[in-house]
Assembly symmetry: D2
């Protein structure tokens, strides 16, 4: 996976392996579901996710959103054109509530528009305990040939 | 620093120590300058910052922007009211160019508005090699009493 | 209404009158429903809403979103504190599909977070004909005393 | 101009005529300068630009930003490929200060990235009186063939 961009054959197994490397590995997320229609991942908050006030760093939510939206967009792009993938253009993350170490965040990405040239995904990040939204994000991506990145 | 929110006496030394803990420590950034008017930090890109295509993960830029804007906003808030700090409301990051392992990113945060209730900071993230912008971000923050977070 | 900020007694009748003045009057929207939990407005697209390519100007969606989110936030703020209202901090509008003259756009605003200090609303703007999303927006607002604006 | 999308021959004269039609005409802006490197327009605030509290409606800033960024992007796209133009993907507008009737707003759009597939423009909107920023915007656009819109 580390040498291969996500393709149409992208499996949860392959994603799980990819999640152990690079920035996803540093974040520590786990994929739970991945299809062109929906991507879900979980993140158990530890001290390595906090900012100095002791709450989850805003960058953690933005990063989590970027990952799940990118996986969904890559799966969607590959369905139309097996050799294609997607990279982010814009990530807008809105912070709604604070969370602390010990919390578990569930990120769910759904497509708002899955075009041939660009895609827009909305990501809701909820506290697994009470289901409340901690943050939401809008991620815009462009469909690309990975060898042209 | 890990127990104390940034205060008016926040020094580069204190920031350097704080940058070694939590999510900032996971990112690996180094502060170079920090005042209510300008915050600069550097990040040397390694394999732990990449997404599966081998380029810097968008979340790295969003996280870096969140950190430098938050430090600047905390310093600015504390100047008006020593006990106050700032937390993020919105982070909008625009990705302009890709970078790879070995690159060094310099993030510079400047205030667009430093109000008593909210602040807006713009962050430019440039390739230290050629000076070109890799990403820019707008971060909106609310001034808070850290004990009320 | 033109002299009075929205208050808890804000009725659809009052909103309808306010929609005939200022920028809302220039837009030409009609309110259909307005409560602290949901605001709906309609806009019939005419030549005055188009950009030079003959499709709806992006600013129309952003403006529509700003209006419905602001009305909802003002109603929500006034419920907690009768003298308070809300003004926008950030408006992030995502364009999904194009529409032309003759289309009718229905904007629905729902609260993502209705805090005492700030609020976040999501606005979906759909084609009344086929129900498809034309644009979505995230609007962040701050709760204010109108006499302090 | 109303039938022709902006092309490489787009002149200030042509823009001035286009500014009298559609949503730009409803806004009432005046172009002052337009090139692939910089677009400037002015807007004199009247009662038709206000929201119910008596200050400029946030949608006015978002709309103004969308227009100047789109003109700049169209000029830039047409320089590379005479038949091409640009349409907006995302508009993120940050509100910094309020303004009232009688104020004059100057919007200046500068490219952050003028790629072959997408462009990113930053727009600063200032009070012509004191030069202070009232709002800033980031607009992302996609390069298109106008006949494919």
């Amino acid at each position: 996976m580390s040498e291969q961009p996500p393709g149409p054959e992208l499996t949860l197994q392959a994603l799980t392996e990819s999640a152990a490397t690079g920035f996803n590995g540093a974040l520590g997320l786990e994929f739970e579901e991945a299809s062109p229609e929906r991507v879900v991942a979980r993140l158990r908050i530890g001290p390595q996710h906090l900012q100095p006030y002791g709450v989850v760093h805003g960058g953690v939510y933005a990063s989590l959103a970027e990952t799940v939206a990118s996986v969904g967009a890559a799966l969607s792009a590959a369905r139309h054109d097996p050799g294609s993938g997607a990279v982010g253009l814009e990530n807008h993350t809105t912070f709604l509530r604070t969370a602390r170490a010990g919390a578990e965040v569930v990120a769910e990405a759904l497509p708002q528009h899955a075009g041939r040239r660009t895609q827009s995904w909305r990501v809701a990040m909820r506290d697994a305990g009470d289901g409340r939204e901690l943050a939401v994000a809008n991620v815009r991506l462009i469909v690309v040939r990975p060898d042209s990145i």
